[in-house]
């Protein structure tokens, strides 16, 4: 019988045999929150699983907001001289579409998976700093809401997601939109930065016994690489955002060309962040499908070390290719040559991964579940995007294509075909793990095929209209310059618009699927015959994740507990000796006596709220700013004075009365 040591009102998720111990005293300014149900149990939670779910739900909402913005853009461009959006609204629309999709959908959705899965995959009870984790989430969600309120407060940002200065200075963008954008991204940046530190420490320090680095599940590896990218890329965009903020609000001169400012400064700072950002978006999905493909091919991942190190190589080289976004800026032949070569070089580790995935499928007993379809979809679509990407490494060709729809086609194949399809694969794969129910496979197939057909109809024709010279970010195109025959951009624009609506319907089917699957029976413990550690616990996992911290003996630990090698003479032949249920039951039978869990806290959400007030204060009033700062400072001190977990002696009965030592949690 395990004693779950987390202050709660009622013994909720602790398992049928658990006993919940309530702390005898309180700390800090207030009593600790002790809610185990209702909205308060979510608002003040520090449980990485609840935070992961909230990240995912918020990201999904932003996905549909961003998608709606994209549909407006496509509706505007369906016919010549479109009238649905004004030029000004069109600028805001493409800026916010990209900002929403990049910062408010893909990044937080990847954070959702990393948050939820990483501790489970390495056999930990939570992340290293549970309260910082809550802070990350609340700062992100407040930042996202903050940016989107600009729609109702004078207009959103209109300078493109790259927000090139001086074009984003006050004379060219007089509304508060850019300020909302800047401050909002500073907030989501804080969220990513805090999350990066937290998850790196988690992956390096919180692993279960036997979980060496080269036994870490591949998703955790890729998430770890991404956190390093965030750790070093976010501060660079932070500098750029501060410069822009000071330029616009305090009349600083960084981007005043009249004073001799260099317009390349913003470009360098932005893309030095912006290119690693591309890998920040796509590597988590690479990790996800590297879990999905072996599971549904019934084979181990081909060349696990290659996938690990090519991921790390992508992360490293990703910091050395940023200027390929600036080939048209006139950097000079040496810079262009260097960045050309570096860009071609980064295609190598990416290609290694594609080979690994293909060879994982080779000779496998393929099971085409929806998750598998999305994973295979990623390989195909991302490869198309990767190939058009290599054409951009050739600087002369890139100069021709810069600022045309060809670029739009390329990066949508990479981001949508790479990142988004992978995230959907992850949702179908881990849905039973997270919610204890399967998603409907039939609706899943419709979801998948409409999205795939939709995306190819939308982004495929953009290659053609781009090579024909249709510029990006133009709010209309005219009939008399549309061209003739096969290359008539009018026809292809219409196709792209129809495709985007197919894609939109396909994405909506995911929501339909969630709805129709809500009453599905409980999922089996091991629905996919999976391989990694997160499945050695119940669906959904208990609040404390594992009854006993599993001891790891191999990569694909769960697989090796289920199957034994009965091959002879060096031949491998695996025979099932246990079911997944039996493996989970075996762990439950050896539950630890005492399990410390971090305690919920008010401070993360209060601190994040303080930052939100500060952000509004910067735009509207010094008084508001001071109020926000006061809230934030109060929260910081409350936080510092509150122990992350109640002390042993504060539990009744005291938890230090012998027993199995539990997995130690961090003291923040």
């Amino acid at each position: 019988m395990a004693i779950i040591e987390r202050p709660t009102e009622t013994p909720a998720l602790a398992g049928a045999t658990g006993v919940v111990v309530t702390p005898a005293s309180s700390y800090g300014y207030f009593r600790r929150p002790v809610h185990s149900s209702g909205w308060k149990s979510w608002a003040f939670t520090v449980d990485h699983k609840k935070i992961g779910i909230m990240y995912g739900a918020a990201a999904l909402v932003f996905f549909f907001i961003g998608g709606f913005e994209a549909l407006l853009i496509r509706a505007q461009l369906a016919r010549p001289d479109g009238t649905i959006l004004s030029a000004d609204k069109y600028n805001q629309m493409f800026t916010m579409h990209a900002t929403t999709m990049v910062f408010l959908f893909v990044m937080p959705m990847a954070a959702a998976f990393a948050n939820y899965m990483m501790p489970l995959q390495i056999g930990a009870r939570d992340v290293a700093f549970p309260r910082l984790n809550a802070l990350s989430f609340w700062t992100f969600i407040f930042g996202g809401i903050f940016i989107n309120t600009s729609w109702f407060l004078g207009g959103a940002a209109d300078g493109g997601w790259f927000m090139y200065a001086p074009n984003s200075s006050v004379p060219f963008s007089p509304t508060n939109g850019v300020d909302f954008w800047t401050l909002g991204l500073l907030m989501t940046g804080i969220a990513s930065q805090v999350g990066a530190v937290n998850l790196i420490v988690t992956a390096l320090n919180m692993r279960a016994p036997g979980m060496t680095l080269m036994r870490m599940p591949i998703f955790t590896w890729m998430a770890l690489v991404v956190q390093f990218l965030l750790l070093f890329a976010i501060p660079i965009i932070t500098v750029a955002l501060f410069l822009l903020l000071f330029q616009r609000n305090f009349d600083a001169t960084f981007f005043s060309v009249a004073d001799g400012a260099d317009p390349l400064l913003w470009q360098h700072l932005f893309w030095l962040f912006g290119h690693p950002e591309v890998y920040i978006l796509v590597l988590p999905s690479f990790g996800i499908i590297s879990e999905v493909l072996p599971t549904f091919a019934r084979k181990p991942l081909f060349g696990y070390p290659f996938v690990v190190f090519s991921g790390a190589a992508i992360g490293l080289v990703g910091f050395g290719v940023w200027a390929h976004h600036m080939f048209a800026a006139g950097l000079g032949p040496i810079s262009v040559a260097v960045f050309s070569v570096a860009t071609m070089a980064i295609a190598v580790p990416t290609g290694v991964k594609i080979i690994n995935w293909t060879l994982t499928l080779w000779g496998g007993k393929l099971w085409f579940s929806t998750a598998m379809l999305f994973a295979i979809g990623l390989i195909v679509q991302f490869t198309i995007g990767g190939l058009s990407g290599v054409t951009h490494a050739v600087a002369p060709s890139d100069t021709q294509q810069t600022d045309t729809y060809y670029i739009v086609a390329h990066f949508h194949y990479v981001i949508f075909g790479g990142a988004v399809l992978g995230l959907f694969a992850g949702m179908y794969y881990w849905w039973p793990k997270v919610f204890g129910k399967m998603l409907n496979e039939k609706w899943g197939r419709w979801n998948f095929w409409l999205m795939i057909i939709g995306m190819n109809l939308t982004f495929g024709p953009m290659h053609i209209v781009g090579l024909q010279g249709q510029p990006r970010r133009m709010y209309v195109w005219t009939e008399n310059r549309a061209g003739e025959g096969f290359f008539n951009i009018g026809f292809w624009n219409l196709v792209a618009t129809i495709g985007s609506f197919v894609l939109g319907i396909g994405a909506l089917l995911f929501l339909v699927n969630i709805w129709v699957s809500r009453k599905n029976p409980p999922a089996p413990a091991d629905p996919w015959d999976a391989r990694s550690l997160e499945w050695i616990t119940t669906n959904p996992p208990k609040e404390h994740n594992f009854d006993r911290i599993p001891t790891v003996h191999a990569l694909d630990e769960f697989f090796h507990r289920k199957y034994e090698d009965v091959g002879v003479d060096g031949q491998h032949d695996y025979k099932q000796v246990r079911t997944g249920e039996q493996v989970v039951a075996e762990e439950e039978a050896h539950a630890e006596a005492h399990i410390h869990l971090p305690s919920p806290s008010y401070w993360p959400i209060i601190l994040a709220f303080g930052m939100l007030v500060i952000a509004y204060g910067v735009i509207y009033s010094t008084l508001l700013l001071a109020a926000g700062a006061a809230i934030a400072i109060l929260a910081l001190f409350g936080w510092a004075l509150e122990p992350p977990t109640a002390d042993d002696s504060e539990f009744d009965p005291p938890s230090s009365d012998g027993g199995q030592p539990s997995k130690e949690l961090a003291h923040v």
Partner: protein, 220 residues
């Protein structure tokens, strides 16, 4: 919840037999470490945070280096710098690193009085440095270097201002630490908490060495 609901702790039973052919993971089993790497979580997190701070100051310093000679017709660094004065305040800041070390060492010896004393001295030296910076900014402003005067002035004030804010945050942390130590409100390992603030403080000092060299010592 009564004591009687607790069953005796499960004694460790034999691990299930390790299937042949793969590593038994002995390298991590049975070690008394709290963490996988043996480093404490807080310390690792602090180092990671400082690593990312390098990039923040890297960006600001690059901006300054790009614009250091772009003052137009306005006043420039050559007419402004008072190297002896700034050297003196820099010396004060560097000495505060020494007192910080003394404080960490006292904390490790569990000498609470010494810890509080040296933390206070460190905060005072930091405050002296900040006062010097405020004085310097005031002088520059009177000589005609406003925040919006030139590219040079904007980037100079932004870079040194960001550093100053870091020092100010450090001072707040030091003084809070003194207060929390006095009231016995430190959570967890006291010596480690002092050491963490120390790491931050040393980082801010090291950044100043870079800024002082690049901004003040290299001739325009």
């Amino acid at each position: 919840m009564s004591e009687t609901t607790i069953e005796p702790p499960v004694t460790s039973e034999a691990e299930p037999a390790i299937p042949a052919g793969y590593d038994d993971g002995q390298d991590h089993i049975g070690l008394a470490h709290h963490t996988t790497t043996g480093l404490s979580n807080t310390k690792l997190a602090m180092w990671l945070f400082l690593g990312s701070e390098c990039l923040l100051f890297g960006g600001l310093i690059s901006t300054y280096m790009l614009y250091r000679n772009r003052q137009g017709n306005a006043i420039g660094p050559d007419q402004l710098w008072d190297i002896p004065f700034t050297s003196a305040t820099s010396f004060v800041l560097l000495m505060s690193s020494l007192t910080m070390v003394l404080s960490v060492s006292a904390a490790k010896r569990k000498d609470e009085r010494g810890t509080r004393l040296w933390l206070t001295v460190t905060a005072l030296l930091g405050g002296l440095f900040l006062a010097g910076q405020v004085y310097e900014f005031t002088v520059f402003y009177r000589e005609g270097l406003g925040y919006t005067t030139s590219l040079f002035s904007s980037s100079f004030y932004t870079l040194t201002g960001f550093h100053g804010v870091h020092v100010a945050v450090g001072i707040i942390m030091l003084l809070s630490l003194v207060g929390m130590l006095a009231k016995g409100r430190i959570v967890g390992d006291k010596a480690e908490t002092v050491e963490m603030v120390g790491l931050y403080w040393h980082f801010v000092d090291v950044v100043w060495i870079v800024i002082f060299t690049l901004v003040y010592l290299i001739p325009a």
